[in-house]
Symmetry: C2
Amino acid sequence: MEQTLSLLEGHRSIRRYADEPVTAEQLDRILGSAQMASSSSHMQAYSVIGITDPQLRERLAELAGGQRHVREAPVFLVWCADLSRFAEAAGMHGAELQTSTEYFLVATVDAALAAQNAAIAAEAQGLGIVYIGGIRNDMRAVSELLELPPLVYPVFGMCIGVPAEEPDRRPRLPRTAVYAENRYPAGSRREGLEAYDREYREYIRGRSGGGRDTTWTQEMSGRTAYPPRTFTGLLREQGFRLED
Amino acid sequence: MEQTLSLLEGHRSIRRYADEPVTAEQLDRILGSAQMASSSSHMQAYSVIGITDPQLRERLAELAGGQRHVREAPVFLVWCADLSRFAEAAGMHGAELQTSTEYFLVATVDAALAAQNAAIAAEAQGLGIVYIGGIRNDMRAVSELLELPPLVYPVFGMCIGVPAEEPDRRPRLPRTAVYAENRYPAGSRREGLEAYDREYREYIRGRSGGGRDTTWTQEMSGRTAYPPRTFTGLLREQGFRLED
């Protein structure tokens, strides 16, 4: 199915949307596709919350760092890792779930696999999407807003709508930097990263009309200046254990 | 693109493969599609190791709990969360990466999104796949076998090959159990889970020719009897921090 491969290979994140709705039928196919993703031991340890309330949208857009597309996208989904159904199912048979890093990982991966199916199902219907990690800026506030119960946490958001922009394809790392046979490659990747930096710089210059001049390794280096998001305390309060 | 939607909605895990190779061209499209998946801040914090060495395969199949398809699949990929390139990029500019739960999460999600694109790209080429969480049974042994450096850990494996079985569609949780608007639904889901149990029991009976009789909540409950995999110690030794 060449069409599907071209769709996957042609992905771009879309942050500007036409003033057109995403139909109920389109959302149904998006969620149906998400539900058919693989899941560890068929646990299906994720939940999705679609934000239709404009005030809630406004608040989430602020919490995500003032991202206007979170406010304006026709559809905004919050993808949650969710062990609460697992716990409820066990409780129905008198068993108790002991959480662990493994289950935290399983729920997080289940949410990610389902979300990526949703992203592809959206793009297959002519829609565009962008993931929003910014909802982890203040995981506590987001969890309270969405009234997330114990054993549930918001992993990321996703904006969906009819594209009103056509960004260039953002260059990826060279294949040799991400794929190897049998063993992890030893030694420095500096040469490959420098070659990628040159390609990436051209992309950034083009995208910014020459206004910006940076490389991938510079961008990565720059990120280390910012303290990463912190939410382990909230996760523990929500019943996730990261000890084992 | 109805074809793509049908592909997503028709997913089944495949554990038996025909005696046909996956071609280099097919694998190239699979990896190319994986590389085009979304990535947090374009960090691309994952790596893939394709296991072609039969002895390595044999050992990984044992470590995964004796899963013959890990040994026999034409292609077996190990998907790793990888912050080592991020650290190397920062080092090229005299900066140092301080890891955290956030970066652990970012790398894990990046690996999952790329892997799911790979899964779809494989299925789009008439191949079948199954995720192998079993490589987390002994994350230390797998990491040593694959010579994973610090800031890299194996999230899951993936078998790929030409399907030699046609399993039934495994029923998913009702939509109302995984999707809601604006807020997480309050109260018990017991009714919905019981309805799902009835549907799931029919599926299991059919699949086992009547030999097995269980429900989804029974299966989930049964899992709590087994101690979950433990690997936080190994993760810490590999330089991942889960403190913040």
